[in-house]
């Protein structure tokens, strides 16, 4: 499956902070075919550092998508049956408007003049994209980590437009620990002299800061067990450093080539600000109007997004007797499990989507 990224431009987007972005570009990819009654569309949402390239082989880079093992013919999100859409989030750096885009008012790059964005803003932009594709109601919204936050936001804000929701390894709000890790990443970037208050475009990139931020991130994505198995105390004879050091340095430097430091600041802030129940009495109240069927998945060794956070969502849904399936899958891969544990997730996602499809067709 060879795919290429498409782009749409929308006249404007009103943000939660009160600022209006105009215009806004969205980069997205689609897989499979939209059926005649437009009832088989699934929006998949990427995690913090992902992009619109979720599946297939990119026509330009020849790279596989970040969830290619889950999306494709016969896979968990079966593109023989479903029309799958994935877009780069607002604030991103992979084709959708973000701090690295040109501010049409000044003709300069936004950099740190880019407005504060929220998970709600990201979802509102996705809703605009979905509408422009002629899709009134999504069969499902799915995603892990920050993608899962967007899933929850979709279900809460657009209950009539999502038949089902699959939030994976996610939370209704960041804990102090999650905010803390994000803050370390942000401080690493801002402490890099090359960051230059965000005005590094066209010059030397704050590569050291961004790499350190990414290294911290990667530690939180793994588990003690997976790190012991993957690296142990083995050393790289040629470099005289531990393998885990070598790995983190490699992932850090690789990240600099594909990610914008300012996007890192804005997107992690959006995650930290996210609180599904904000301004409401309870999570249950937030989901009051929802008839959406849920499949919630968490992983035993995920200490970054621990199961209790998913269970809080599940409890809130059960308190109003909403249709919610929940499983804590056994995995040693930590938070990375949602990208790695393909077999189990495929099986349950398939069964779940089949049931949702039956329900939609019955009505």
């Amino acid at each position: 499956m060879v795919v290429s990224t498409q782009s749409k431009r929308f006249a404007s987007l009103e943000l939660d902070c009160g600022v209006t972005l105009a215009p806004v570009d969205v980069a997205y990819q689609t897989y499979g075919t939209l059926n005649p009654d437009r009832s088989n569309a699934i929006l998949v949402m990427h995690a913090f550092s992902g992009d619109a390239h979720a599946a297939g082989v990119d026509a330009q880079t020849q790279q596989k998508g970040w969830w290619d093992s889950m999306i494709g013919p016969g896979r968990g999100f079966d593109t023989d049956q479903y029309f799958v859409i994935c877009s780069n989030v607002l604030g991103g750096c992979r084709g959708t408007t973000g701090p690295g885009s040109i501010n049409p008012v000044t003709g300069e790059i936004f950099a740190m003049t880019f407005p504060v964005i929220t998970i709600g803003d990201m979802v509102r932009l996705q809703a605009t994209l979905i509408e422009s594709l002629g899709i009134e109601k999504l069969l499902s919204v799915a995603g892990g980590s920050m993608g899962g936050m967007q899933v929850l936001e979709w279900a809460a804000r657009y209950p009539d437009r999502v038949a089902s929701a699959i939030p994976i390894a996610t939370t209704p709000r960041h804990s102090a620990q999650q905010i803390a890790f994000n803050e370390v990443g942000r401080q690493a970037i801002m402490a890099d002299p090359d960051w230059s208050d965000g005005n590094y475009y066209g010059g030397k990139l704050p590569g050291r800061g961004l790499a350190v931020a990414r290294m911290v991130g990667h530690i939180t994505y793994m588990s003690d067990e997976s790190m012991r198995q993957k690296f142990g105390r083995r050393q790289r004879e040629d470099q005289g450093i531990f393998e885990v050091e070598s790995y983190l340095r490699y992932r850090g430097s690789q990240f600099v080539d594909r990610f914008d430091a300012n996007s890192y600041l804005y997107i992690t802030k959006a995650m930290d600000l996210f609180d599904l129940a904000a301004g409401q009495q309870s999570l249950t109240a937030v989901l009051e109007r929802s008839k959406t069927k849920f499949l919630v998945i968490s992983f035993t060794s995920d200490w970054l997004y621990p199961s209790y956070q998913s269970q809080e969502v599940v409890s809130a849904l059960r308190r109003r007797n909403q249709d919610v399936a929940y499983i804590e899958l056994t995995s040693k891969y930590g938070h990375d499990a949602f990208l790695v544990e393909v077999e189990e997730q495929s099986e349950i996602v398939k069964g779940f989507l089949l049931r949702v499809t039956k329900g939609v067709n019955r009505r």
């Binding site: 069927k293 499949l295 599940v314 409890s315 059960r318 308190r319 109003r320 007797n321 249709d323 919610v324 399936a325 929940y326 499983i327 804590e328 899958l329 056994t330 189990e344 099986e347 349950i348 398939k350 069964g351 779940f352 089949l354 049931r355 039956k358």
Partner: protein, 209 residues
Amino acid sequence: MTPANNNDPFVRDLLGRGDYAIFSEIVAPRTCVLDLGCGDGELLSWLADNKDVDARGVEMDGAKVQKAIAKGVSCYQGNIEECLADYPDHAFDYVILSQTLQEVRQPLQVLNDMLRVGRRALVAFPNFGHWRVRLAHLFTGRAPKTTRFPHDWFDSPNIHFFTIDDFEILAAREEWHIEKRVFLDGNREVKMLPNLLAETAVYLVRRHS
């Protein structure tokens, strides 16, 4: 599955289970059913396909939950005794508890919760008063082991050993209304002396309104 004929003492089984066959006759079409300890969801899946019920399950064992969800059953991985408190009153038409009452720590609380979240409770349990259990105990002087209670005392999931009479006494004390009771020996229906002759009891219970 063929529903049991009233004149036929042989109850046909559903998915290899006599109690499932009784459940399947009792559960009305297009109702909402919660199965506590639903395993891999085979009963719920059958009820969804054949009776068009809104089927929900609770199961502890992750491998079974995975199978249930893969079958298209809305299954929640969790503890029966902890999860019931979350559900609103009368959220379900039936709450099923099959062959598990003897394994829960607080059976009375579970039954009361079932009657709160469901309009009716469907309970099936093994009868510890069956003559084989009595004989095994009488003759060996040890914790009885039978085909129905195959475990050694030290690795048995069963932590309460009660009989049909015990259940009837509790139901009377709690003033539950028993709408239906079916007693089975294997897949055969027992009409006389159930406390002595039945291996399994199936009760349809509701609260007096």
